[in-house]
Subunit: 186 residues, 3 copies
């Protein structure tokens, strides 16, 4: 069946001017023309999943949207409406969404993380065998999280103008990091 | 096909009394009666996606469940079992799930965020061009995150009794905030 | 239709040796052989949702992967490729993914949370009626979050070697905690 793109204006609350709302109508799958595999295939729900390996990065916050998109661009373009899930398979790094423009934002975020999570001889950790940066890395990983879900609209990740995907590397010695990407939609 | 709602009691661990577990059986789609478009449409997987604009809010944590539900209630009612994904398209505000009852909880959360993230002339940030509240806002956005996924059950968001959706506005000067809502399920 | 498992090696950036990438090809549903309900049922998208009750846990971080997997193992095995969503229906506990091996990591994480979130008579909270541990619990819940999404691959949760699911109990007096688990995929 066809996906209808509707535009209507919806005002909520105090905003002075009407706000344009883009709406993807409720879409059901599959198509009723079940004898046409191409038609049904185009309309039915789709899944794609792959594991991407990001190269080692120095400790700090890194903008990785281009790397991610390059790896999934072909599959992404096949979706009209859906969700892209990213899952970092590590406990000493994290994923977050934040500013894609000024690299000072990434530097300042690293400054914050190091300020707030004790590290070194004065830190109160029991888990010290893997080095002074390891327990702080675990804490930072849970603070920012290791998973993200981004909407897909018209074959693209539908983030705000200034949003980008960051890999935050919390260990001193860089290692490759694996991300399982799962796309789902129609 | 039919979705079966089963109830069984499952005890796990040390709880003294049996605990009721509501279970939605594994449901496959689509229906085998493919010649009946209405039957298939009702049973098949569904997607809906829209961008909601929330009106400007003063700095602080705001309970927005009613606003969100009002915008998606019609589409939501069409789902028996699924997930609702909310994606805030901004890097200086955040979304979280927390108490929906006592507004002091929202005030205290704002107090905590301001206490933990340095702001002003003594703050160690390089990113200062957009004002003293901006870099702290980016940090708070990554701390709480900009995405939420809530289960849908029987046409409703399936949250706990005391849970609500919060928009946390981290900038001093209020601006409208866009949220992409994606519903998926059967 | 069949899901094709392809293996290809993809090098990204500075890694010295080729990295094996496991790729689940873009899969469309449903099957074109619509007259065979068994074939279609096996290939079509599937949903399963259940509410699990975790027994009361003492305050602190707890590895709950075995408990979760035991509850959903049967349904999980039915999925080739998908996502498992966990939603904790509480505002004074949290879910996170972190190390599954050394329990010191869980102890140190609890130490960190208590260090960073003020508690007791010197804490600046207005919300105090439910006890000195309550407002700190709400804050910790938003810091770590109450939802997780984990990829499903070949009938299993596809986490990294050292990753596990934690329930972080933030209240002093243990209570049972409900988690809505939603599985979706093919």
């Amino acid at each position: 069946m066809q996906m209808q793109m509707l535009q209507s204006s919806v005002s909520l609350g105090l905003s002075a001017s009407p706000v344009r709302v883009v709406k993807c109508s409720l879409v059901r799958a599959p198509s009723t023309t079940v004898n046409d595999p191409n038609s049904m295939a185009a309309a039915g729900p789709k899944w794609a999943q792959k594991t991407i390996t990001l190269p080692p990065q120095r400790r700090g916050c890194h903008l990785i949207t281009p790397k991610i998109v390059k790896e999934i661009d072909q599959e992404l373009s096949d979706f009209n409406c859906g969700l892209a899930h990213l899952f970092l398979q590590h406990t000493s790094a994290s994923l977050t969404i934040n500013e894609n423009y000024d690299s000072d934002v990434r530097d300042d975020t690293e400054t914050f993380l190091n300020r707030i999570v004790p590290e070194g001889t004065s830190a109160p950790w029991k888990h010290t065998l893997e080095g002074p940066d390891d327990m702080p890395a675990h804490i930072k990983s849970s603070m920012f999280g290791c998973t993200l879900t981004v909407p897909i609209t018209n074959g693209k990740l539908n983030m705000g103008t200034w949003q980008g995907i960051w890999l935050c590397e919390h260990r001193d010695y860089p290692t490759a990091r694996k991300v399982v990407v799962t796309l789902n939609g129609i």
